[in-house]
């Protein structure tokens, strides 16, 4: 297991270095990166000073080394908009984004688990068909659209839930639904198909043959097995959730990383955009690492393997 962790950690580091490389290349794509970093009325001297400060007068590989060295320390430069270290600005907002992504995940699971399980148990039944339609709609309807409709109907017309901002649990509900909307479909289908396999397996037949109630078999025994592929999906979909959170944050005025990065794009606040992309990659790698480790708790074969 520890060898496995070490290998995964290494892969994570490689991935993050790759992300840094992408950011670095993107920065060069713009021509003069300094032009992006300075405010509109910067002088020629400002340009020269910034170039020197960033080591842009040096050859590219050397620049990349400097870039990496700074990045490792979390230094992506100061946001020119806010005159504060870009990464620090985003880290401040990271809890809000994680909270939202987590809430989205919880919503997705709350919906996907019962739907997936019932669909599998009653294959071809009403729930299965409804879930199938629901799943298709889920993938075909953009989350931000759902978000706007939710604001319109639930918050404004019915006044059931607050429409915006971060606060109590109530504030989380609508954005979580808008964000969790998309993965519900995929999770339901994954769960359904793995449940189908499992319910058709020898051990479930055995469990039936010794008189375990179907309720136990489905919700206690089979579900735990079905979670193994689902957890893999959670890792994959967390990336989507983070990306999706960027859009949903804009709709719900959620003070997270995404909104900061969107603002930064429009303000050409490049240090913040860079830091945002790298932060997203780091979070993704860490989450996937956690997911990988959590397999061990769900599937003992991996724990001992």
């Amino acid at each position: 297991m520890s060898g496995y962790i070490a290998r995964r950690l290494l892969q994570g580091v490689v991935a993050i270095v790759g992300a840094l490389l992408i950011v670095f290349v993107a920065q060069r794509l713009s021509g003069d990166p300094v032009a992006l970093m300075l405010p509109m009325d910067a002088t020629e001297e400002d340009f020269a000073a910034m170039r020197q400060a960033l080591g842009l007068d040096r050859p590219l590989p050397a620049q990349f080394v400097v870039f990496i060295a700074n990045a490792v320390q979390g230094d992506f430069g100061d946001s020119y908009q806010w005159q504060a270290p870009a990464m620090a600005l985003l880290l401040e907002r990271l809890p809000a984004t994680l909270e939202l992504a987590l809430a989205g995940l919880v919503f997705a699971l709350l919906l996907a688990v019962p739907l997936g399980v019932i669909s599998a148990v009653h294959r071809g039944g009403v729930v299965d068909r409804v879930a199938k339609i629901f799943a298709m709609l889920g993938q075909a309807v953009p989350g931000f659209w759902i978000g706007l409709l939710l604001i319109l109907f639930i918050a404004v017309e019915l006044q059931w839930l607050p429409a915006f901002g971060r606060g109590g649990l109530a504030n989380l509900v609508l954005p979580a639904i808008a964000l969790g909307w998309y993965p519900v479909a995929a999770m339901t289908r994954t769960l359904r198909s793995s449940m189908l396999d499992i319910l058709d397996s020898d051990y479930v037949r055995m469990e039936r043959a010794i008189g375990l109630p179907e309720r136990w078999i489905v919700w206690r025994f089979a579900l735990r097995n079905a979670f193994v592929p689902l957890v893999t999906m959670i890792g994959v979909y967390f990336a989507n959730m983070l990306g999706g959170a960027f859009v949903i944050e804009v709709v719900f005025a959620w003070p997270g990383v995404g909104r900061a990065v969107v603002d930064a794009v429009f303000a050409r606040d490049f240090p913040v955009v860079q830091a945002g992309v790298v932060l997203a990659a780091v979070v993704f790698v860490v989450v996937n690492l956690i997911v990988d480790l959590s397999y061990g708790f769900i599937d003992p074969r991996i724990r001992h393997g």
Binding site: A26, L29, G124, Q139, P142, N240, G243, V247
Partner: protein
């Protein structure tokens, strides 16, 4: 286990019959999208960009105040929504086709190389996939939106950047298993050159899966593009895109619901259709892996 045919209610039997059959409705919707893409300017009732301020916010024809000359109503600048949806189909189809063909091609080539050669090549490409997969696509899109001129090319570039990994992983896995099959081994033993093995033995086997994935992703790309445009990073006016229409219409959601509903429905229909057709293709081309 084999499929069961317990006696069912008539409706159930009808649904089941359709489940296995060709999805006519989905195919029609997709065909419609493609027809709009090809013939847009000739079949659209108005010029999609024509501004007629005095006709702004005309509701759809079936509502009070609607008119038959604007069946789906007009937007805040008096532009005909039906015409814009037709024009949007063109952009959406364009972006989706280019993006899918490019990412499919790049992904397939890299995936085949990784699966076929294995070793260092595989390790390199696999790491590349890992790296790409660990940068969520929306933040990545923002990065490039900050440095590249916005527009169709950028959207396609970003989509290709995020989507090629799907194809690469799929193809790599398939080739890995094909490589061990007898006919490929035989070909290699017989001294058939690598390109020929690729071309003659691997490509046709992989093609089916690519076709399925591409069809399934058609809709996903449209939704992705809508997300980018919603943030203002996607297709730029005066080019019309469904995503852009949603973005433009969102400020009027309480005043004129049709601005956001109609393009939303278009996205939904196209995406649903591509999913349904993709499912059908998968079941038809690869019935063994129905649960895929």
């Amino acid at each position: 286990m084999a499929e069961a045919v317990l006696p069912r209610p008539l409706l159930g039997r009808l649904l089941r019959a359709r489940e296995g059959g060709f999805p006519y409705i989905a195919a029609t919707v997709l065909a419609l999208v493609l027809v709009c893409a090809l013939l847009g300017p000739w079949i659209s009732p108005h010029d999609a960009g024509r501004i007629a301020l005095s006709e702004a916010m005309t509701p759809p024809a079936w509502l009070e105040g609607g008119s038959m000359s604007h069946v789906l109503g007009t937007d805040n600048l008096g532009r005909d929504i039906l015409s814009r949806i037709i024009a949007g189909a063109r952009v959406s189809a364009n972006v989706a086709l280019y993006a899918i063909v490019l990412s499919g091609f790049i992904g397939a080539v890299l995936g085949m190389a990784a699966g076929y050669f294995g070793g260092v090549v595989d390790a390199l490409i696999s790491r590349l996939i890992d790296v790409q997969m660990s940068v969520p696509s929306i933040p990545l899109a923002m990065l490039f939106a900050a440095v590249l001129p916005p527009g169709e090319a950028m959207v396609i570039f970003i989509i290709v950047l995020s989507y090629w990994t799907w194809y690469a992983r799929l193809v790599r896995g398939e080739v890995l298993s094909l490589r061990e099959r007898d006919f490929v081994k035989l070909a290699k033993v017989a001294g058939v050159g690598t390109p020929t093995v690729f071309y003659r033995h691997l490509a046709p086997n992989v093609l089916n899966m690519l076709l399925v994935l591409a069809t399934l992703q058609f809709g996903s790309v449209i939704v992705f593009e809508a997300g980018l445009s919603f943030l203002g990073l996607g297709i730029q006016p005066p080019n019309v895109s469904w995503g852009g229409m949603l973005a433009d219409g969102r400020n009027f959601i309480e005043v004129a619901w049709w601005l956001i509903t109609m393009p939303g429905l278009a996205i939904m229909a196209a995406c649903l259709a591509s999913n349904l057709l993709g499912d059908w293709l998968r079941d038809t081309l690869d019935p063994v892996r129905r649960q895929l």
